[in-house]
Symmetry: C2
DNA sequence: GGGCGGCCTTGATCGAGATCAAACAGCCGC
DNA sequence: GCGGCTGTTTGATCTCGATCAAGGCCGCCC
C-alpha cells in the first residue's frame, strides 16, 4: 500500500466564487468548459447542463487524490475538466496496472453498476464537474441522446483499451515507451484535433508510466534516456518533453 | 501472413431448411436462440426479432473463417449463436494479439463507425445471426431500449478488456495460463450462470492462447504441462480439459 | 499403407527486462 | 545552509520467457 502523496482534499471551496456561480442561472459546467471545448462540456450539452446546473459541483483535486476506489460504491459521476485521471487495478500482492487514462473533457465513472471496478486517481492536479449519480441517471432515463453520447465515449474507450492490449502483450520495452509518448502527444492537445503536439509535460511519474506499460520504472527511465541519446526527444526538468523528430518517434512505436 | 486453415465459406446453404424458416413468420434469430438463452437472442428481444425476422440470416462458419477484417468496411452486425469468435490486431511485422473473445450470445460488431478496428475470426466452428448494418441502425434509432442493451454489453466488454490488461501487463506466464483457463471455464458455461464449468474443450489452439496471453506457444505448452504435472488439470486429446482442483486453479491466477 | 502437414511437446541456449544497489537532483521546511 | 524526502538515473547481476531445434502424435489424402 503506497502512501498517498496528495491528500484527497475535496476542496469545493477552492473555487473562489462557487456560490455566486450557483446562484446565477449560468450552468457551471458550461461556463468553465465552453471556452475550452467548443460549447460542449464533455458529454453534456447546453440544455442538459442547464437542467443540472443547480446540482453539479466544480471540484479541484491535487495530484494523487483518490477519486473512486476499486470495489467501492459509486456516488457520483464527473466530467474531467482539466488534468489527467488514471484508472488502476491492483492485484492482492500489490502489483498494479493502469488500465486507462482520462483527459479533459472525458466523462468519468462506470454507468449501471453499483461498484467501481477500478481505482480512479488524479494523476495531475485535476478539475472535475461532479454530478450526483441519481441525478444523471434520471436525466439519462428520458434522454436517449445523452446515453447515445455516453455510448460513443464507451466505444472509444473500448477501442483504446484494445489498442493498448497490443502494446502490453506484443511490444518491446522501447516500443512501449515510444507508444506512450506518442499517445500523450496525441491526447494532450487542448484543441483536440487529433494532431500530435510536440511539446508537453508528462502527466505521470516514471513509476506511473511503468504501471501503464507493464514495465519497471528503471526500464522506463533507461528507454527515455535512450530516446534522448538518440535525439528523438529532449527532456528538461524530469517532466517536460520536446519531441525533436515526431516521425522517428512514431516509427519506434512498432 | 499465415495461411487460413478453414476457408471462409459463407455457407448459408448449410442451414438445412433455411428457406422454409424465412418464409414463415417465425423469427429465425428467436427460434434458434430462445431455447439456448432464455427467450432473448443476445441483445435482441422477441418483438425486435420479429421486426428483423425477414432480413436476418443464420450463417455457419468453419473454424478459421475470417468474419471481418481490420480497416475494412462493416456491412453487417451479428449475434454469436454458437462457438467462439476471436478479435485480433496485428502489427506490420506480423506480431499478433487477441484483444477479445466473444461467446454466445454476444453481439458482434463495432457500432457507429465505418471500418472495423479489429479482425474477427471464427476460433471454433460458429453460427452467426447476421443483421444488415443499416437495418439494425434503423431499428436502434427509434428504439433506445435496444441501444441501452448494447451499451450494457459494451460496458461489460470494456470491464473485461481492462481485467485482461492487468493479466497482460503484470502477471507471470504461469498466472496468465491459469487465468486463461479460468476465463474459459467461467465463459463456456452454456447456462451462463457465471459458474465455472470443470470440464470443457479449449476453443483455441496453443498458438491462439499464446496470442491471447502475450506469450509464445512453447511457453503456453510448458505451463499447461506443469498444471497437468501438478494435478490441477488433466488434458486429453490436446483440446479437452478437466479441472481437477478449481480452487487451486483460481489461486494460481495471481 | 505410407507420406505429409498441422499441431503439440520437450530440451538447450540466449537475451531483454527485472531486480538489487548506489548515488544524484530538485524541493521544502527548519 | 542543511537534512530529509521524493523522484530519477545508472550500473551490475540474475532470471523468466523467447528463441532455436528436434521429435512425436494424429488425421487426411494419395
Amino acid at each position: 500500500m503506497p502512501a498517498k502523496q496528495g491528500a484527497a482534499q475535496e476542496t469545493e471551496s477552492a473555487m473562489t466564487d462557487r456560490k455566486d456561480i450557483h446562484n446565477s442561472d449560468v450552468p457551471v459546467l458550461c461556463q468553465s468548459c465552453e471556452a475550452r471545448h467548443k460549447g460542449m462540456c464533455g458529454v453534456l450539452q447546453p440544455d442538459e447542463l442547464m437542467a443540472l446546473s443547480k446540482i453539479t459541483r466544480m471540484v479541484k483535486h491535487d495530484a494523487g487524490a483518490e477519486l473512486a476506489a476499486e470495489a467501492q460504491p459509486i456516488e457520483s459521476y464527473a466530467n474531467v475538466m482539466r488534468g489527467v485521471v488514471k484508472l488502476t487495478k491492483t492485484l492482492e500482492d500489490g502489483r498494479q496496472q493502469i488500465v486507462g487514462l482520462q483527459f479533459a473533457p472525458d466523462f468519468l465513472g462506470r454507468l449501471y453498476t453499483k461498484e467501481s471496478a477500478v481505482t480512479a486517481e488524479a494523476a495531475s492536479d485535476v478539475d472535475l464537474c461532479r454530478v450526483p449519480r441519481t441525478a444523471l441517471e434520471r436525466l439519462m432515463a428520458d434522454n436517449p441522446a445523452l446515453e447515445h453520447r455516453l455510448m460513443q465515449q464507451t466505444l472509444r474507450e473500448l477501442d483504446e483499451a484494445r489498442d493498448w492490449m497490443v502494446t502490453l502483450g506484443r511490444k518491446t520495452a522501447a516500443e512501449k515507451v515510444a507508444s506512450f509518448l506518442y499517445l500523450i502527444a496525441t491526447h494532450l492537445d487542448p484543441s483536440h484535433e487529433g494532431e500530435a503536439v510536440r511539446h508537453f509535460d508528462l502527466p505521470l511519474t516514471r513509476g506511473d508510466i511503468a504501471d501503464f506499460l507493464g514495465l519497471t520504472l528503471e526500464t522506463v527511465s533507461r528507454q527515455l534516456s535512450k530516446l534522448r541519446a538518440d535525439k528523438v526527444i529532449a527532456i528538461t526538468g524530469n517532466r517536460h518533453v520536446d519531441v525533436i523528430d515526431m516521425a522517428r518517434l512514431k516509427n519506434r512505436c512498432g
